[in-house]
């Protein structure tokens, strides 16, 4: 198996990064989003409007309904990697 450093995207992270870039019309190459950088505020600079869009597209693609009263929610959105881990844990399709 190909060896990756912590800052390299996994194939699933690249898939989700592509989805974020397309959905949110970000002017970034998907492969250039550092998987451990924050998605909101500093970092990728997303905001609450984006959070709703992300929730919608994740539901449509993976059948996972995000909730804000989920105690893990702050963690889920902390980085591309944690978002991907949450999707893989909860996905229904």
């Amino acid at each position: 198996m190909e060896e990756r450093s912590l800052s390299d995207q996994t194939p699933f992270e690249t898939e989700i990064a592509q989805l974020l870039v397309t959905t949110l019309n970000l002017k970034v190459e998907p492969g250039e989003i550092p998987p451990l950088d924050p998605l909101f505020g500093e970092g990728l600079g997303l905001d609450s409007i984006d959070a709703l869009e992300i929730a919608l597209v994740i539901h449509q693609h993976y059948g996972y309904k995000l909730r804000s009263d989920d105690p893990d929610n702050a963690t889920i959105f902390s980085s591309l990697r944690s978002l991907c881990e949450a999707i893989q844990k909860n996905r229904e399709k």
Binding site: N25, K27, L52
Partner: protein
């Protein structure tokens, strides 16, 4: 001198709020208000940072009891907070959590203890007392104050309530996705329920699944206060919603198609609210059944040289309407659009001039301008910015902007350019902005990399 009560109808045992899953009766709420008012410092102004709607209500009411005025900042950026503390030095803040404002005294509300149930008097406040000051971004970069008297806020709540007839008897609960720290939220999620005797749900559900589950926990009849962005998300997910008697929406236009879908999904009647920080709510409509807006009772329209104003006995003077309207009769009008210099993204309004001033105030920025690309209906269009700043990176410009403006206005992307094409009068024209966007390299760049370092 006239007074109006905190609680419109007052019955000590009826539910005024749902807080942490518990019913808070009018008596308990007034006990919390009474305990809190004693903790507040002797100051004139307060910034209420409470995230929980019930905590905000207690802080707001306690401040009223002390004749204080609640300031409603246009956004929570550190620069706005610093400007407000300079303009209103006799100010403190209340919080229910981690939020704080550097350089100001703060009070942390503790509402964990259940107050006693002793029936207390319903507080009465002078109608002329300035209960809140809402700030708009203005065109000069300095927040412009819009004082709201207690009497005007009570009038708006009562008149808005008249457009939402409900059969008497059953207790109504209001669930809201909108924050309570701006005029629409304060009017519809705090003042309207207080004055109508409806219960306030203290949470602020965000994702469709949260909204559905909180609505299901409340007995019918329910009212949902939301925005087109949240309602669209609700329609696009497969969450199941209970019946909602009325769904209120404001901050941005609601398409008739979305209004139809919401009515079907929530078995509800959609009511749109039209207002702005300078006047508060001025009109309502049911978008499926009517194209025109109906003014709240006792409001009148007036022509001005450059548009229209609205007037009513509870305004000291006529208030200009920021949008272009077409009156259809004395009580009704249609909205014809928004002047080009005003921006509305996800319900946040700002003037392009004020945003440009924020951009130009950044160290190292020689010239620059925000630009709103043509807006599309299916998604939210973001601003872009063209910036002349030799040696600066996109990231450093975004970091500086983040302290000055609300995050929804942060440009996507920032184009670093050598000169900004301005015409002979110094204006940056739409056609030149479009040309610059076309000229930019089509390959995307990560946000932390300068285009011409």
């Amino acid at each position: 001198m006239t007074h109006s009560p905190l609680l419109g109808p007052y019955q000590p045992h009826s539910t005024v709020a749902w807080f942490n899953g518990k019913s808070m009766s009018a008596g308990m709420v007034l006990s919390h208000v009474s305990l809190t008012r004693k903790q507040l410092p002797h100051k004139r102004y307060v910034i209420n940072l409470c995230q929980d709607r019930y905590a905000f209500l207690i802080g707001f009411a306690a401040a009223l009891c002390r004749n204080q005025t609640t300031l409603l900042p246009p956004n929570p950026s550190s620069e706005i907070m610093q400007q407000l503390t300079r303009e209103y030095p006799d100010c403190y803040y209340v919080t229910d959590g981690q939020e704080e404002i550097a350089g100001l005294d703060g009070i942390t509300l503790n509402l964990d203890t259940s107050p006693d149930h002793t029936p207390m008097e319903n507080p009465q406040f002078q109608d002329s007392h300035v209960a809140a000051i809402a700030f708009t971004s203005g065109t000069t970069g300095t927040p412009r104050p819009n004082p709201k008297t207690w009497g005007s806020m009570v009038q708006i709540a009562q008149k808005t309530g008249e457009s939402l007839p409900l059969s008497q008897g059953k207790p109504v609960t209001v669930v809201a996705t909108v924050p309570h720290q701006h005029m629409y939220g304060l009017e519809t999620t705090i003042m309207l329920p207080l004055q109508k005797g409806w219960a306030i749900h203290s949470g602020r559900p965000f994702f469709p699944e949260d909204i559905a589950s909180i609505l299901k926990e409340q007995p019918s009849p329910r009212i949902l206060v939301s925005t087109p962005i949240h309602l669209r998300a609700c329609v696009l997910t497969e969450s199941r919603f209970p019946e909602v008697t009325y769904t209120l929406s404001a901050t941005a236009p609601l398409t008739r198609q979305l209004a139809n879908q919401v009515e079907e999904l929530l078995h509800t009647t959609m009511v749109e609210i039209y207002g702005f920080a300078e006047a508060g709510t001025i009109a309502t409509r049911q978008p499926i059944r009517e194209n025109h807006w109906t003014l709240l009772p006792e409001l009148t329209l007036e022509s001005q040289t450059d548009g229209h104003a609205v007037n009513t006995p509870y305004f000291p003077e006529p208030v200009s309407i920021p949008d272009t309207i077409q009156p259809t009769n004395l009580q009704q009008f249609t909205l014809e659009g928004r002047p080009n210099h005003l921006i509305n993204i996800g319900g946040h309004r700002a003037s392009l001039d004020a945003l440009n001033l924020s951009l130009l105030s950044i160290d190292g920025v020689v010239d620059g301008a925000f630009y709103m690309p043509e807006e599309k209906e299916e998604s939210i269009t973001r601003l872009v910015a063209f910036v002349v700043a030799p040696g600066k990176t996109v990231e450093s410009i975004l970091s500086a902007l983040r302290t000055k403006i609300a995050s929804v206005f942060l440009p996507r992307p920032v184009y670093l350019i050598e000169t900004l094409p301005r015409n002979h009068t110094g204006k940056f024209l739409r056609k030149d902005a479009e040309a610059l966007m076309r000229e930019q390299p089509c390959h995307a760049r990560p946000p932390n990399q300068a285009i011409n370092p």
